[in-house]
């Protein structure tokens, strides 16, 4: 960071159009390749940011920081959600040039946008556009007309690239407008806090949306059957999910190795299935 600020005094690091294009291409090609239950698109997002980050952070430590930052849980609909990598590109640009955006601002932005854009995007892309295009083209295909397939492929691809491209570069421009003007450190501190508020609010909701740990355990004796999950729901719906997240969070904070935790989870999952908990 220190080095960056010196650099800035000499010259600003600017993203080139080609960096953005590369980033967009990676986004469209690979962002859902390594979708995992654990973090969904996290790796895809990080990958798509590489052309940006490589340009902005010549220093290896800064680069490592930035890459790690973008390995966090992420999920959105890829076309409308392309706004997010675009916008983050511009925030990283400002950051590389010395504005002191904390991780909270960046994470808050990602978290605050990913949910709504997934909702909007899934509804429009999969619910509307896909269905309409299919409705037309399937009709043709059923009659044996192969143009149905071709038209669908062409139009759908055009839609995806068109919307994705527009959103990605709008995101960049929007971010540019909003973030490049902020230099007052007190405003940045304010922004950091507000993004923290947004991020934490949505995080409370993400647990209910992405984690759904449920037990199928029952206790039976004679005619009496007790469903443990029903009792737990009475205490607090989603208590297992939120409890697990906080236990894991505590472990991570105590620097327990994440790989170890994952191993334990796998063991718990399989053992749990074996003894009839899951």
């Amino acid at each position: 960071m220190a080095e960056n600020q010196e650099i800035m005094e000499e010259k600003r690091i600017k993203l080139r159009k080609s960096d953005l294009m590369k980033s967009f291409a990676i986004w469209e090609l690979t962002s859902e390749m390594c979708l995992s239950y654990e973090r969904l698109m996290s790796l895809g997002f990080c990958h798509a940011m590489l052309p940006i980050l490589k340009r902005l952070y010549p220093d290896k430590d800064d680069l490592a920081d930035a890459m790690t930052r973008h390995m966090a849980f992420f999920n959105t609909e890829n076309q409308f959600g392309a706004l997010i990598p675009g916008m983050i590109a511009s925030v990283e640009e400002e950051r590389a040039n010395g504005t002191d955006y904390s991780d909270e601002v960046i994470n808050g932005l990602k978290i605050g946008l990913m949910g709504p854009l997934a909702g909007v995007g899934d509804t429009i892309t999969q619910g509307l556009v896909k269905t309409i295009l299919l409705a037309i083209c399937v009709e043709m295909g059923l009659k044996g007309n192969v143009w149905g397939s071709i038209i669908f492929f062409v139009l759908y691809t055009a839609y995806i690239l068109g919307v994705g491209y527009t959103m990605f570069f709008s995101g960049y421009k929007l971010g540019k407008n909003a973030f490049s003007k902020i230099s007052d450190t007190s405003i940045i501190r304010k922004l950091t806090d507000c993004m923290g508020v947004l991020g934490m609010t949505v995080a409370g909701c993400m647990i209910a949306n992405y984690v759904s740990i449920q037990t199928v355990a029952t206790f039976t004796s004679g005619d009496t059957v007790i469903e443990i999950q029903a009792l737990l729901d009475e205490i607090m719906p989603g208590i297992l999910s939120v409890g697990t997240v906080f236990i894991l969070y505590a472990l991570i904070r105590k620097n327990v190795s994440v790989i170890k935790i994952m191993g334990v989870l796998v063991v718990i999952g399989i053992l749990g299935a074996f003894v009839g908990i899951f």
Binding site: D61, N75, A118, A135, I213, L248, Y249
Partner: protein, 249 residues
Amino acid sequence: MLQAVLVALCTWVCASGIEFTCWSIQLCSPIIFGPIVGAIMGNMELGLQIGCATQLVYMGNIMVGGVGSVDYPMAGCVATALAVATGAAPEMGVTIAVSFGLFGMLAESGKMTLCSIFVHRADKCAARADTKGITFYNVVCPQIINFFFYFIPAFLAVRFGAEYLTDLLDALPEVILTGLEAVGMLLPALGIAMLMKAIFNLKFLPYFIIGYVLSSYLELGMIAVSLVGVAFALMYWFSYREPENSEEV
């Protein structure tokens, strides 16, 4: 033999997860791969019709957060190939597709479980700024899984008939399948916990609690909670005052 390889290849491509050649991960649609597989098996038109008929069944399928109700590579490619091979009527083809679509969801969830490993490897790459590593784990590795989970089963099914797959499935004890599901249910907790590490701030715990109550008790979705989050953030913004002397808490 060649046919089997080609169909397996199609299945693999279809499962690759390239966004714009199909729709999005594992959603490569039967309407596109139906005729291709049909052509490979020697009857493009029948393939097309089976593909479209299959598509019709899943018209309302929406994939949210990586979870859909059908796996297209299996339902589209493999099922079509088998149906064309036996010269089945399109309706029959759809029946085969539905059962393969369900079978494929197993492949899918297995993949999403295993991919966690690559993500953790990638974490290490990120920590040492190894950009090549990221690419490797994001692009190459999942395709290896796809090879085992899609190419091999598809090849076997087309080469030796569907019963091979069914046998494979029967060989896995029930408890392993449930166990894998359980792991898939536990893993997101780790992802969110790591996210929490990045953003947790005691000062903002109240907002977390409210977000949680809104979503789990009042069943508000992400969009609604984000709106409330924005409202809170704005309130915070407008009522913000510089800390008096030093940072509190």
